[in-house]
Symmetry: C2
Subunit: 347 residues, 2 copies
């Protein structure tokens, strides 16, 4: 309020101490909510701080206190709906705390993961959310070995040493496939996810199991990689459409590749769902924007972000906590991209 905007240096705790006539450690106590401070003293300090327009210097605070009040999130990039949804949840939850968010994108650190890990542990952040899949195990175990608070998002953990939150990938894929089967589809193409990720493996497995449970044959030509990207879905769909005995339905391991598939299908002059049914996975905001609206498996990304933050903050508070795993439920969202198989559109 009364601060002088022209003053060169911002007021420090010392200025506040001088102003209120107490020692600067008392000021620190007041500012940190320490309870055993005489109310009148507290009031005086607070008033002085207000008067001077004092705000703490985060760097100094963390250097002395050992905490940065920053939490980091490592993502592959910020450019798709999947990450945005996750970030929204993360931010929402973080807003309730006094932590700020620092975003690391993996592109910056190719081959230098260990240096990054070391820097982060060295005070750049108090905890890390790992959204990026395909992070080298070394990287993760480096952090883990130092007891650094860490939560993996959407990737289960091989070692059992890390906390993670994910969704029912297997079940979701099973549900999607079964939905198509119940509509009468027998030849169902599968556009796979990113090799090496647990979600991709689980979704493939859910698909295969659903086929098996309904006594449908497994045809390896019907399984093509899409790498979780739009372009991959496009190429995959083209490959699928080129099979002599073309599938009547396609289940794409994520929405992004489903969008690519839509493009390919429509370019081939085929209609969705009349000529071919399509199911995605994720339920990105775009899914209800495309035409036809995409039937897909909802993955509660926003909630996953929130839960991950909660788990991370717990871990920061108590580093001794054993790893926790939380798996949230997926859900089939029926829209307009599928239809029952009738004699007319039999492959």
């Amino acid at each position: 309020m009364n601060e002088d905007p022209r003053r060169s240096a911002p007021p420090t705790i010392i200025d506040v101490a001088r102003e209120s006539g107490v020692s600067y450690s008392t000021v620190s106590r007041v500012l940190n909510g320490y309870e055993f401070v005489k109310p009148t003293t507290r009031a005086r300090v607070l008033q002085a701080a207000e008067k001077l327009g004092y705000v703490p210097n985060p760097q100094a605070r963390s250097l002395a206190g050992g905490r940065s009040n920053l939490i980091g999130v490592l993502v592959p990039g910020i450019d798709n709906g999947y990450i945005s949804e996750l970030l929204r949840g993360i931010d929402e939850e973080l807003a309730k705390s006094d932590y700020n968010l620092i975003v690391y994108t993996t592109r910056r650190q190719t081959g230098r993961e260990s240096v990054y890990a070391a820097t982060i542990m060295n005070g750049a952040a108090d905890g890390l959310l790992l959204v990026a899949p395909m992070i080298s195990a070394n990287y993760i175990s480096l952090l883990r070995d130092h007891q650094f608070p860490l939560v993996l998002i959407d990737q289960s953990d091989m070692t059992g040493k890390n906390s993670f939150v994910d969704a029912t990938n297997w079940q979701g894929a099973y549900d999607a496939t079964q939905y198509l089967i119940r509509l009468g589809h027998q030849r169902i193409g599968f556009i796979g996810g990113l090799q090496g990720t647990t979600s991709a493996a689980d979704r493939l497995d859910g698909y295969l199991t659903a086929l098996a449970d309904h006594n449908l044959p497994q045809d390896s030509r019907l399984i093509v990689p899409g790498h979780y990207v739009e372009r991959g879905g496009y190429d995959a769909a083209l490959a699928l459409l080129d099979i002599s005995d073309r599938p009547t339905a396609i289940f794409a391991a994520n929405d992004l590749s489903a969008f690519g598939a839509m493009e390919a299908i429509q370019q081939r002059g085929l209609r969705i769902p009349e000529d071919i049914s399509l199911v995605g996975f994720d339920n990105l905001p775009q899914a209800s924007l495309v035409y036809p609206k995409l039937t897909t498996i909802h993955q509660p990304l926003e909630q996953m972000g929130q839960v991950a933050v909660k788990m991370l903050l717990e871990q920061i508070q108590n580093p001794e906590l054993p790893p926790r795993h939380v798996t949230l439920a997926t859900q089939l969202i029926v829209r307009d991209s599928c239809r029952p198989l009738t004699p007319q559109n039999l492959g």
Copy 2:
């Protein structure tokens, strides 16, 4: 490489000094690329640092050096394609520097902007990108008065004291409107943007001017607010369709509201573009995903983010630099949501 993962405290500059047999200020010099260091000394220090697995502590560095190597970006939220595109550009450019990105969302600071501003200036970040529109002028001038490096994105500045980067909003709106006029449309609805933003004002103005330039009457019933959000576009379109003398085309001030409009139009049983033509603004990735693919004005968001970062880094390097303004060109992207007005579909 050879560091011991079980050691409790990470190595500091002092450990490196001891290991290499020089004073720790020399280590600091080497680490900061100071040139007048004997090559052999430099090598010895570097080797010791490598051996110990030394990484600098960012907090200590910034406390002593006065720079945090963090740049902040203030956004309303992370949840729409518009922000994502911008962030992508920002991140891309930042990746070339050694700055990291800290994301602030406005929701966290309602009513406490000045405290936030103070904290940021107080070392939390070395510079700030302001993407959020509607940030109180006080907030901005508080930062400006302290000579804090600042770049506004997509909002021109009333005071002339701040650097900003934006796009040709007026021209884009003019082009969009003119495009519709040239297709034969005479009654063109306008779904407005967020009140109080310069882009909304400029786009409205471009629209009006195009009408005037082509001797088309201005009808206030054809101008409805959409607030740049999907829901707003939906409501706006409904209002527009309810007019007795319904428009044959609609120009939405951004893609988000255009998406909402599509929803409304289709719900009313009308077809785009057969019954009504639609143009958006922004060219979000989703624009080519919707059906029909949206004709829109491309705004180079990614590039705007990159340019903003460049300008900000310049400003950080040289705080005395006068404010700069960069306006990037928009471009009409013709897709499938418009068609010429023929006798059949005359309102």
